[in-house]
């Protein structure tokens, strides 16, 4: 197979990268890990004339904690780096587990957090758990930077709010009162499988009451989606088996799956129901796991 020819540039700074993206406009793509982009190019689905490589931008690699802000994950962190990161394992192991659920070891060593988000595949595994944890996206462009809720980052399959010349630089998981979070992915084999449906949840529980909750569905809508009606079932209420079951049913009804070669609408709705229940149960009982 051939990758269609392109011009390759590897800028030395984020600003330089943004400037190049503005300069080349629509005929340029960002090259982070390449595990998604190169496949699309080999399949003939994309033919960018320019690839702007982030490989020299070390500032985008780090995973660190910033007091007053929270955990910061650089867009160039690979999925294995996320999976193995001590800080994340301590604070939000659920994020590590979500990264772990992706693809296989080889892909996780080159695929990046930024790539997973920017490619905006509806079945992506990181967005649900990050949104459940109220993550923010710090976007850098030629005219400055902006930070938005990750929930607002996705516009549709393959589409994000990134404007020309903008690069997703970091994901911020803010310090938060949540007591547990969890992501469950249902794939058709145990490695190398896209999610047929994926559900992430986060809860803030005290005295058996669910003070706050987020339920985020993946692979069952054009973008990762909050199951707000399901959340309302639980928010502020005393946790009970019946309420969790209801939340599952409502999340299923809220979801907007399509039928494709991996699953039908009804089956996906069923998965949302089951996975929502299971995710909530785990988040409530086991912490950020």
């Amino acid at each position: 197979m051939i990758i269609p020819e392109f011009e390759y540039v590897s800028p030395q700074s984020v600003q330089e990268a943004c400037a190049l993206l503005v300069q080349y406009g629509d005929s340029a793509r960002v090259l982070a890990g390449g595990s998604d982009l190169l496949v699309k190019m080999k399949d003939g689905l994309m033919k960018p004339a320019y690839l702007v490589s982030l490989k020299n931008l070390d500032s985008l690699k780090a995973i660190r904690y910033e007091t007053g802000t929270g955990v910061i994950i650089g867009a160039r962190a690979t999925h294995n780096e996320v999976m193995n990161n001590r800080l994340l394992q301590e604070k939000y192991r659920s994020v590590c587990e979500a990264a772990h659920s992706m693809a296989a070891d080889q892909i996780r060593n080159i695929g990046t957090v930024g790539g997973n988000l920017v490619n905006a595949v509806p079945s992506a595994d990181l967005p649900p758990i990050l949104i459940a944890l109220d993550a923010r996206a710090r976007i850098v462009g030629t005219s400055g930077e902006r930070t938005i809720a990750l929930e607002d980052f996705f516009l549709g399959p393959g589409k994000t709010v990134l404007e020309k010349g903008e690069i997703l630089a970091e994901i911020i998981i803010p310090d938060q009162p949540t007591t547990g979070s969890n992501y469950i992915k249902f794939g058709l084999r145990r490695a190398g499988a896209l999610a047929v449906a994926g559900v992430a949840s986060s809860v803030t529980v005290s005295d058996g009451t669910c003070r706050d909750v987020r339920v985020v569905l993946g692979a069952v809508a054009p973008t990762p989606m909050r199951a707000r009606q399901a959340e309302n079932v639980l928010r502020g209420k005393k946790i009970s088996r019946e309420l969790i079951d209801e939340a599952g049913r409502i999340a299923a009804a809220e979801s907007k799956p399509i039928s494709d070669i991996r699953g039908s609408i009804e089956y996906r709705r069923n998965l949302v129901n089951v996975l929502t229940r299971r995710s909530l149960k785990a988040a409530i009982e086991k912490g950020h796991i």
Partner: protein, 767 residues
């Protein structure tokens, strides 16, 4: 007990390391795509985007002008000879002439200095198509309103088979219970890890082809025929092959097109399929729609079976006629009954061509039969193993379709499987959502008749001992595609001669230097090539012993050879080293060689299609699997599989169990994960290894592979096959285990989580 198990062998029966393992673990083994030939060009094939279309025009002018392009060919530049591998069904051409019959059909080809140029050149070829309606549903392919794909196959019928043994109607009338059930099998494909590849070189009127092939002989035969060459002018060489499973049994576009381009350019041309092209070439599992009716007595004895099939053959015939016959021929093998009716339509569709895949036509019928037998057992209140024991084939019997079974330890397989799996304590007794089920199978050990009509022996071998007598080289046409035939045949040669495995060298699968062999398919080589090797080795042994008798002043009858020593039986101090005698032989008489060949006995009945299913010997197996079903998602976890095989004498235990594990794994993939799917225009939706899901290391169960004592008189040292047998029981075993776990029956492969969930859902609905 058999002769084989009581005698201690020196070389066979041992798990010696594979003869090519070191090369493979170091990266030294060269597969066809790894080879480079001086002056080599890269070939690429332009493939049809339409499932069914007339070719109106092809303009190659722009492609020809691209720098670096050495040749562009279309149908007019290559022989128009129709080819195929089923006699009387040669319906394929090197490049499509008038019509393309599937997405991915071959339309044109380019040879260029490098891959990138070749791919660019393809994009510069302009083809004008008239898109035609396509036949995409095999169940409707014969309907009046469907387009006809091939001019010669009316109503898209590839073959129509009606076989009738005994009187099924009467048998059903006499039955206590008659059941009819319908099953739908899935279109699956081999997925060898190595894609098809060939390098063709055309020099002085001679064609040399290095090819990832399962049969240099069939390749040589067909390629010579198509290009109008004498076979001696076509040399087919097999480098290391990365898996075949039936998909590399006939020349593909890789061979034909590279040969055509080599002839046109005068330079060697390499063509390596990318993964998508492997899916287009296919020649994999027919999806079979099966309606099965079985009648049994009150005691569960099978009286009669009627199978009605429609199987999806895809675009070209390939080996599909045999597949259709095998679908019926293997059904009466493992259980004894006298009345059988087999009605089968193999139909053409505008989808990739189907042919032989591990188990060849038999696994899906086996799935149907094993599932139905369990349903019958349930209705009769019988244990599934019990009903199988009532019907199990016995040794030295003839099936109703004239297949001669010599050794058969099927009963022992059933009993051992029951024991090692803990069946009695588990069946119906496991916690909800867990279940255990059994599936069985049996398969041929080589086909009784070759793929084309010929009187050639099926296998031949030459052994040449070195002048120093320190090593011996085995020349065989037999093909190692990963299953280890080079290794076990070297073991057999060493055993037959009386030397050590480490003394063997092997030259295999080169039509110019090695003797004839039909190749790796139908699990034939251990028995058939083995016979030839044994004969060749024994001829060397005879010559050595004759000379040694002279040198030791002993009589021939008193001498034996073991582990490189010729000695007088009973007086081992009267001995000579093998090298000494061999060296002396060479001095006195010249090369020390032995040769052997094997032709199976005349087998089979006189009815139409009787040849298919014939074999010198048959393997048998019982497979029990244990599953855990997550009823909310339908996900099935297969936790354990126990396979008990009757495969005769074992030449190399490690390699044998490795074959069982691999065959079982393929059965598992087809049972639960794999299906090739298309859109409504016949375009494949999952022609890649991300969405065509072969199980990963995380998906496979714990496997326990065991054997029963068995000796097959028709096989050298009592051997039988194992490479395909373990694929057959798996699907039925899983379906039966799932039923045991959750009380729902699935009729539709693959057994996906969604299907399981739906079946549970349906059952729970208030009626």
């Amino acid at each position: 007990m058999s002769e084989a198990t009581t005698k201690e062998f020196s070389v066979i029966g041992k798990s010696v390391p594979k003869i090519d393992a070191r090369d493979k673990v170091t990266g030294r083994a060269k597969y066809t795509g790894d080879l480079k030939v001086t002056g080599m060009l890269i070939g690429k094939i332009l493939r049809s985007p339409h499932a069914h279309a007339r070719i109106l025009s092809i303009d190659t002018s722009k492609a020809e002008q691209l720098p670096g392009v050495e040749a562009v060919i279309t149908a007019k530049d290559v022989p128009a000879t129709f080819y195929g591998i089923s006699p009387a069904r040669y319906d394929e051409t090197i490049l499509a002439i008038e019509k393309v019959l599937q997405v991915g059909d071959k339309v044109a080809a380019v040879a260029a200095l490098d891959e990138e140029t070749a791919v660019k050149a393809l994009s510069l070829i302009d083809v004008e198509y008239e898109v035609l309606p396509a036949v995409l549903d095999p169940l409707r392919a014969m309907d009046e309103d469907q387009p006809q794909i091939h001019p010669q196959y009316e109503r898209n019928i590839s073959v129509e088979i009606h076989q009738n043994f005994g009187d099924v109607e009467k048998a059903f009338q006499q039955s206590h219970l008659v059941r009819t059930d319908r099953f739908q099998g899935n279109r699956a494909t081999h997925v060898p890890m190595e894609p098809h590849a060939a390098i063709s070189k055309w020099e002085n009127g001679k064609l040399t082809i290095w090819s990832s092939t399962q049969s240099p002989h069939y390749f040589q035969y067909h390629i010579a025929r198509v290009f109008g060459l004498k076979m001696g002018d076509v040399r087919v060489i097999k480098p290391t092959v990365g898996g075949g499973f039936g998909g590399k049994l006939e020349p593909s576009a890789a061979e034909y097109v590279s040969a055509a381009l080599a002839m046109k350019t005068g330079r060697p041309v390499k063509i390596v399929f990318d993964r998508k092209e492997v899916f287009f070439h296919n020649r994999g599992r027919h999806a079979q729609h099966i309606e099965l009716t079985t009648g049994v007595t009150k005691e569960g004895k099978i009286l009669g079976v009627h199978g009605k099939y429609i199987i999806d053959g895809g675009s070209y015939t390939s080996l599909g006629i045999a597949s259709a016959y095998y679908a019926g021929a293997m059904l009466p093998l493992i259980y004894e009954f006298d009345h059988f009716k087999f009605d089968c339509f193999r139909v053409h569709t505008n989808l990739p061509s189907c042919a032989a895949q591990r188990g060849h036509g038999a696994p899906q019928p086996r799935f149907a039969f094993e599932s139905q037998l369990d349903m019958i057992a349930k209705e009769l209140g019988m244990d599934p193993i019990e009903i199988r024991k009532v019907n199990a084939r016995r040794p030295n019997t003839m099936t109703l379709n004239d297949l001669k079974v010599n050794s058969c330890e099927f009963m022992a397989c059933l009993e051992k499987a029951r024991e090692i799996s803990g069946w009695v304590g588990k069946k119906g007794k496991l916690p909800p959502g867990q279940g255990i089920g059994i599936g069985c199978g049996g398969f041929i050990t080589g086909a009784g008749y070759p793929i084309y009509r010929t009187r050639l022996p099926h296998a031949a071998a030459i052994v040449k001992v070195s002048e120093q007598g320190d090593i011996a080289t085995l020349y065989i046409g037999a093909v190692d595609i990963g299953q280890g035939s080079d290794t076990i045949l070297a073991q057999m040669a060493a055993e037959a001669i009386g030397i050590n495995y480490e003394d063997m060298r092997i030259v295999s699968a080169d039509t110019e230097t090695t003797p004839h062999d039909f190749g790796a398919y139908a699990s034939r080589q251990t028995l058939m090539s083995g016979h030839a090797v044994k004969q060749a080795g024994e001829e060397v042994r005879r010559q050595i012993i004759e000379l040694a008798a002279e040198l030791l002043e002993a009589s021939v009858a008193d001498l034996d050879i073991d582990r490189r020593v010729i000695f007088v039986k009973g007086s081992p101090e009267k001995m000579l080293p093998f090298e000494t005698v061999a060296n002396e032989f060479f001095i006195r008489k010249g090369p020390l060689m032995g040769k052997g060949s094997y032709t199976p006995p005349k087998l089979g009945g006189k009815f139409k299609g009787a040849a298919v299913g014939t074999s010198p010997a048959y393997s048998f197996a019982a497979q029990i699997s244990q599953v855990e079903v997550d009823e909310e998602t339908g996900q099935v976890m297969v936790t354990n599989v126990w396979d008990v095989h009757d495969c005769g004498t074992v030449i190399n235990p490690n390699l044998l169990h490795a074959q069982v594990e691999g065959a079982l794994f393929m059965g598992m993939g087809e049972a639960m994960y794999e299906q090739v799917v298309f859109d409504d225009k016949g375009r494949p939706l999952n022609a890649n290894l991300g969405e065509y899901r072969v199980p990963t290391a995380l998906d496979v169960p714990q496997v326990i592979s065991e054997l029963v004592d068995s000796y097959e008189p028709a096989g050298p040292w009592g051997v039988k096959e194992v490479g395909e047998g373990a694929t057959l029981p798996t699907m039925g075993s899983y379906a039966n285990a799932i039923y045991d776990a959750i009380g729902v029956r699935l009729y539709d492969l693959p057994l996906t989580p969604e299907k399981v969930w739906r079946a549970i859902h349906e059952r729970k609905k208030p009626s």
